[in-house]
Symmetry: D2
Subunit: 347 residues, 4 copies
């Protein structure tokens, strides 16, 4: 019963098949191999974006910060939420890669509203040369706290950004889970809304470690290539990144894996609510935050459930703490049921 | 007949076996899995360095620049050769990761002499606060041009560095090839000579993409971990890095693969010399630089040989250009023989 | 009636006398002149800190960011208020000089409380390698909004910092105004409370452009010198910085100028309150924030008063906006009286 | 007899007159004062460049690195000589300000030839994404070793740069001395030759500390302003920079001071040669390098001459070392004669 993270589960077996299939003889390095060309073309097709520039990197943080570093100058700022991965979980990687740009935390926690974004942008614009300049907007779907922006919400955020001529970056570490939750295409969730650069994540959804960075306008393509190399993120044996992504696209594996993760997540949420537990987030995807007493958390963990507890863990029956449950593609309904069955004894 | 690079060949099949074996259920992310602990312990054993701190990264450039960024301050300089990978093939990644440290190019081209190193260090030390301060020495074995430093040469370079209290970094993208060429242990080539940090490369020697960074003195270990995260180089699904390295260490696969690469390289060199071609480098490992006319190069390429030509390619029979032949673990004697048989018709 | 800023007024005439006195023959450059030695010694005396390392720079921002860059690593964060100069008025200079460290905005606006500081520090410490590490605490006295921390408040903030072994930086652009307001010595306000590095500002208090950076523990002195040079902040004709500071120290000119600024500030505050206007800040020094209608602000400006209005300027009698009045050493009681006399007609 | 540096002498008295004249009442800060507007307009006139963007900074290094940071990307390289100030005397400031761009040292020492520049540019262009990209060319006139590029030489270097579409930066710490040596106008030496950005230095030529950065094409003006602020180089009390430059321009003071420095420099050179000493550099301006024995240097120093000796100082009569003599605007013929009279006793 491991709900600790969607990077803890196994890699989908078809990925290894694709890796072995790619392991045939010599291939040009650094992305100049035919498989990389083929798979990037397929991603352009998937996104209905024939002009897009598509690049592979091995980690989500790398995708985020390389994308952002081509969008902002070092004297600018990036508008994001306090809970965003680029703020709390990248140990100043955005600052490193952008050469010292700032992150402006849009008031709120995990979900950005258009109103708050507009207020933040306005506030950053009245100090002339003295303050950082407005640089870019970064949003995440599925968010860190498991919320899913609707297409209308993404559109509204992009509209605010466009009012100030700011580019929009989408952190898509859980891109597939968001698509499945929304029942939409990748194009629906990105350029059709106004997103300029999206990270199409694979690592949290069954791959070993590949993310595709998709620039819908390729004018920054060459700069990205240079920044990727300078960031020590250009893999020599590039075909093995491409192969993973090839497996991901084959027969919509990316969708099916996310669908399984979301379905088990939904089942968890429903079961928790049925058992009378408060589910904190508006969970439409694969992450469920729920509140329980310290004793309840302890009982669940003693019974073999593995997950993170946020904030200070309460000691007795009094306080309540939030637990985070994450399902990946390999989560089974059986495991979920086993977890839910534990809840009965906790009331 | 692909001699273009040792990153062009296939991955050793046992790597896929190890990956699949590691792909069992859940595992903690970010290097907190048992396999990572096991494999780093094996590397400490291999290096006879029980105190060493060992980390995995996915690319050689990442290993180099992260190691260097823990050794030097941004107002310091790194002594290296003009041909070193950190100078010519990392697109300013050292400057990014160190926060703007400088590279001081020790006079020469590919092989650093102790005398030239001392002269360079002396020259950087007489401008007080005005010039960059002496930071670290970086050497490479096997060098970019296929030369192998002897243990005595490494010792002599480290001795000079120690005279100025400078740490020594070893770029070991072809570490195994150097060990085989020298018939020495990893410890012989590193800390026993005075090397402080070594990159134990796997990517160019049959792995998909893993390098181990080995700090013989662990005092910088935590700083390295933070810099690795900040550099967007901390893999979440870390067990798949460990698994590759596990296969590498198993029954000395790393040695055997390098031995095959070196043996085919030696055969190439011997065959070229026998056929009357000039071999430019003191090739003891897996890279051979040889001089031929433009017509000869063209004939070889027309016959299916793939390799890089350095500098301007001469047009006719007159000029001569240097070709670089690289053998990896998968190079066969048969392929070498086929290449050498082409030489007969070129005289 | 210019209340726009304390950097808008004239330089004290004795500064020019000191400059001319220093302009005699040749002097060693880069701070190696006898006058620099003499004046830094006097600052050590003034701070009762015989071991301190004292350096001059030409701008307050330079003092702040150079000091901070020696205190924090690029993977760390600096705790400061949202209104702090380093956050809102330095256009990412802290990020540049620290190599990409982050600023963590302690909840509140202008004045940091020990409780909020502790909460922020705690919150930054629970993500292991994933988030930025705790680096330093930066406070400002007088604050940007004209508030003055008491000695007890400074002590309490330093105590929190020390609980986490974090160094404390004091932005002292208005150091003298704070000392006068508190009736304390420079030592009282700094190392006796736990401050590790202070900027002893001169530019806003009658000098042309000099700030002294005072490290109470000199162990970072040489690093500071290198970072100052690397930051393009090491003046060759250094005696002219020293001369300004010499005039500043002579017969406590620094105190007297700040006393005049504070006295006229107090007079402004008293007059505004007497006339029924709301004074927003707890003004003990030379800056007064007051609320008035758009019509009132317009009338004052039409009558020749010069000052900044914060936020959107209201158009009619309805809304109210905050005006900022700043007094420097050259502000006269006569000018204050003239301004206050305008208030009578505004009721 | 102080020939140590042209930053060691006094400031011209008229500078203090201008400072006091500017010290009248309040003025807008940060360059928004009328005097700054007036003086920058005069510089545009002086350079016959009505469209130019002109900015003041307080140090030559700041002018150089801010200018370069607007010209190059962090993944690019700057072509300069090994002896250039940006390479040897700025402690990695260019690397800091550019975010980690590299300096490519054009073979030679102090004077760059068009042929060597072209060779260096060509060599940096053949590694695709792997190496740094070509960024900008930086030249210095007068050079660090006291040589003066002719207008034809500057033209030839700019022509090479233009062949590769690279901008040209001119380090003009001794701009005036070069103009006087060449008998040319500022326009002749800059944009008419192809220079894109010039630093018009004042600090080494009688001012306290001001340099004007002149962008002949103003398209980077706003970026420069942001980078200047971010670099902690935007002075609040800006009128005192402008006043110094005002004095500099008044009745061609800048020319007259440089003319005096060059004249005394020429007299030194002539006297040294007459006395049989070897003058090493092609000194047309205010710096003379001459070779003498250790005993001769010691005798000169014992007699009160102050200057730097380069390299290891020889101990007896055998070895010879190079001494550097620098004259500034305040150097008198009498002092030169006194120095030259010492030479007689040394033969």
């Amino acid at each position: 019963m491991d709900f600790a993270s969607d990077n803890g589960g196994p890699v989908h077996p078809s990925v290894f098949e694709a890796l072995k299939a790619a392991n045939d003889g010599y291939a040009m390095g650094y992305g100049n191999d035919p498989l990389t060309a083929e798979v990037t073309a397929r991603i352009r097709n998937l996104f209905e974006a024939p002009e897009a520039a598509v690049y592979f990197v091995g980690l989500g943080t790398a995708g985020n910060v390389l994308a952002l570093s081509t969008l902002v100058q070092p004297f600018e700022t990036i508008f994001c939420t306090p809970m965003s991965h680029i703020n709390v979980d990248e140990c100043n990687a955005p600052e490193l890669y952008t050469g010292g740009a700032k992150l402006t935390l849009v008031p709120g926690t995990d979900v950005m509203t258009p109103e708050a974004l507009r207020t933040s942008i306005e506030a950053e614009g009245n100090r002339g040369v003295h303050g950082p300049q407005r640089g870019a907007v970064s949003i995440t779907n599925v968010t860190e706290e498991g919320n899913v922006y609707t297409l209308e919400q993404i559109q509204a955020l992009c509209d605010v950004a466009k009012d100030y001529d700011l580019p929009v970056h989408l952190d898509g570490a859980r891109f597939a889970n968001a698509c499945v939750a929304l029942g939409c295409t990748p194009a629906d969730m990105t350029w059709k809304r106004g997103v300029d650069v999206a990270v199409f994540g694979g690592t949290k959804n069954g791959l070993m470690g590949v993310e595709a960075v998709v620039f819908f306008d390729p004018k920054k393509a060459w700069e990205f290539e240079l920044r990727r190399k300078r960031g020590a993120q250009l893999y020599s044996k590039h075909r093995y990144l491409a192969a993973q992504m090839q497996a991901y696209l084959e027969r919509d594996l990316w969708w099916d894996m996310a669908a399984q993760a979301n379905a088990t997540g939904s089942s968890l949420r429903a079961g928790l609510e049925l058992a009378g537990f408060e589910v904190v987030n508006d969970s439409q995807a694969n992450i469920v935050f729920f509140r329980a007493t310290g004793a309840q958390h302890r009982a669940l963990k003693d019974a073999g459930a593995i997950y993170h507890i946020y904030g200070a863990e309460p000691q007795g029956d009094e306080g309540r703490a939030i637990g985070r449950l994450v399902c990946d593609w390999s989560m089974t309904q059986e495991t979920v049921d086993r977890f839910l069955s534990l809840l009965e004894g906790l009331r």
